[in-house]
Symmetry: C2
Subunit: 321 residues, 2 copies
DNA sequence: TGAGGGGTTGCAACCGGTTGCGCAACCGGT
DNA sequence: ACCGGTTGCGCAACCGGTTGCAACCCCTCA
């Protein structure tokens, strides 16, 4: 392996000058920079990240904390964050933590102390725990808003409200919302947004709380049918999938008799192009979060602002009613 | 942050002794070890991985190379490898590379030179390219066998053969195999295994090659119907899913008229508990591969052996014929 | 002509562990 | 009492970059 010393020797300068020429060219005379660069190129020099990190006192590792990976919502976030981290030469370590209570915190601290920063996906649990987690270092929050913390949220609530409003517009008189897990920040947002959107134009039944699973959707079927709803907005894709399968199994056609909104890709999978769908770009969510963390790391200042990403709604041409 | 020097000072020994006491206690007097350990505990000492890696000349990073992440087959492998890597205090970096041709190699080399070792998931591409990739450092292969290389393979071929044989046993006279992508090592194994298993007990039609996508399954429908097959074994889950949906869309009941084998979880999703299914434990695949790599890294010797993981077959109680 | 100052560069001390080598103490054996 | 052979420990030199500080050159302005 060729080291910086080799490059410096070939270029006829000191190691320190070589280091500066490559890292902060503005501090070095232009032709010296050129000479060093040429030498580096000629030797195929690749700086040793480990040494660099040691000298700078950083680890070069950032953590992404998710509550679970058994959920299609989180994996794209991981992918997006991963790819963005790589662009900034950071290693991403993915950790599974719920951050629900104080016990989670002690384990989290050990992790946080070993990395340069954290991206937290903590959909549930009290604000206090999440805030406490943020004291260990630079932190960016995903899909949740807490006063004073930098966060990136998908504006799913607006999309849900849009869906519900259109259902009401297209003649649905009874709409059901299948609520998400207890304590979920997004659930609170979505539930409130839908209620505002529907107002008194239709009867809105809120069911739940449900965990974001296929089984929960199946289990919700009785209640949905009993509610008399002709349009359903489920908190999560998996819940909707379970509901659709269970409805079909008992002979209720969907989207014929009961329309269930879905996510874009799933709408295709369940063979219903005519289902209203939303498109949350999880990868972008992860990418933007990592971008925010990188900014925070380089600038050193935490603006504590929220970036709200739009969520698109696909409404079928043919009326789903 | 407390450093080794602090610990050494508190324990009243030299830094070097402290280092050895913690890392190789067999070289140090028992009571000295105890004193150092106590000091470390008291100060809450956490060794700095970066410094350790620099001194040892390793990076502490291992790479997992997959051809794509848009495929449900690979994500569990990533998860398994990830979790196993963490147990050995290794950072996992996931890279997307096909390793199909020499161009991929140059980019791969840059990656490989920065890590301690690689786990390669390279289902396609010529053996030579994969072998060339292995020269840059310790390497473990997943789901593919190449003479002389350590590899972990799921014994899917046997499972496929089992499926085909049982189809023949239960009266199917025309069976179709939907082949995988061109050049796929596993496809070659599976195809051959099925042919051996069916022998002359039924008519076997091999279709393809197909990419492992939903769309490919849809596109294969005409050919499947034309073949007169009553039982189909698709190379990949996604192909099977596409086929089932397309069959149903054109009024052919499945598994009623044409049985399509599937993977365990998918069999449930398509609402057919009575479908023969296989269960490949991708997470275990990734985990075992990482275990092999860790062994290789610590022992320094590459045995070049293959570990074959069993794949279970679920045959429905009620005959699917 | 000399003091003041900006731009370049080199020296050497870091960052925090790891490890080769040498010294000293201590062992049992003659 | 003397000796070869452990055993236990410390010194200092690493690993490969980064950076504070000082030296130096050259140019400007008084």
């Amino acid at each position: 392996m060729t080291t910086l010393a080799d490059v410096a020797a070939l270029a006829g300068v000191a190691k320190s000058t070589a280091s500066r020429a490559l890292g902060r060219p503005d501090l070095v005379a232009p032709d010296t920079v050129a000479r060093v660069r040429a030498a580096a190129l000629q030797l195929g020099f690749v700086p040793n990240r480990t040494a660099s990190h040691l000298a700078r006192g950083s680890s070069g590792i950032v953590a992404l904390v998710v509550p679970t990976l058994d959920n299609a919502f989180f994996t794209p976030i991981v992918a997006g964050a991963q790819s963005r981290a790589r662009e900034s030469d950071l290693q991403l370590t993915v950790a599974v933590h719920r951050l629900d209570d104080a016990d989670d915190l002690v384990e989290f601290e050990r992790l946080a102390r070993q990395v340069d920063g954290c991206v937290l996906v903590a959909p549930r649990g009290p604000d206090e725990i999440v805030q406490a987690a943020a004291v260990f270092g630079p932190t960016v929050l995903v899909d949740r808003e807490i006063q004073g913390m930098t966060s990136i949220v998908a504006d799913t609530a607006s999309a849900f409200a849009d869906l519900a409003a259109r259902f009401a517009d297209t003649g649905h008189r009874a709409i059901a919302y299948l609520g998400g897990p207890e304590g979920s920040w997004q659930d609170a947002q979505r539930s409130a947004a839908i209620a505002r959107a529907v107002a008194d134009r239709a009867q809105l039944t809120t069911l739940g709380p449900f965990p974001a699973t296929f089984a929960a959707g199946v289990a919700a079927t009785d209640a949905v049918v009993a509610s008399g709803a002709t349009a359903v907005v489920p908190y999560a894709t998996s819940i909707g999938l379970g509901l659709v399968f269970a409805l079909r199994a008992r002979g209720v056609s969907s989207p014929g008799e009961i329309v269930v909104s879905a996510e874009r890709l799933v709408a295709e999978a369940i063979g219903a192009d005519e289902v209203p769908a939303i498109d949350v770009d999880g990868e972008q969510l992860g990418r933007e979060a990592m971008t925010a963390l990188v900014d925070l790391l380089t600038s050193g200042v935490d603006a504590g602002e929220t970036l709200r990403l739009p969520v698109s709604v696909h409404w079928p041409e043919s009326s789903p009613v």
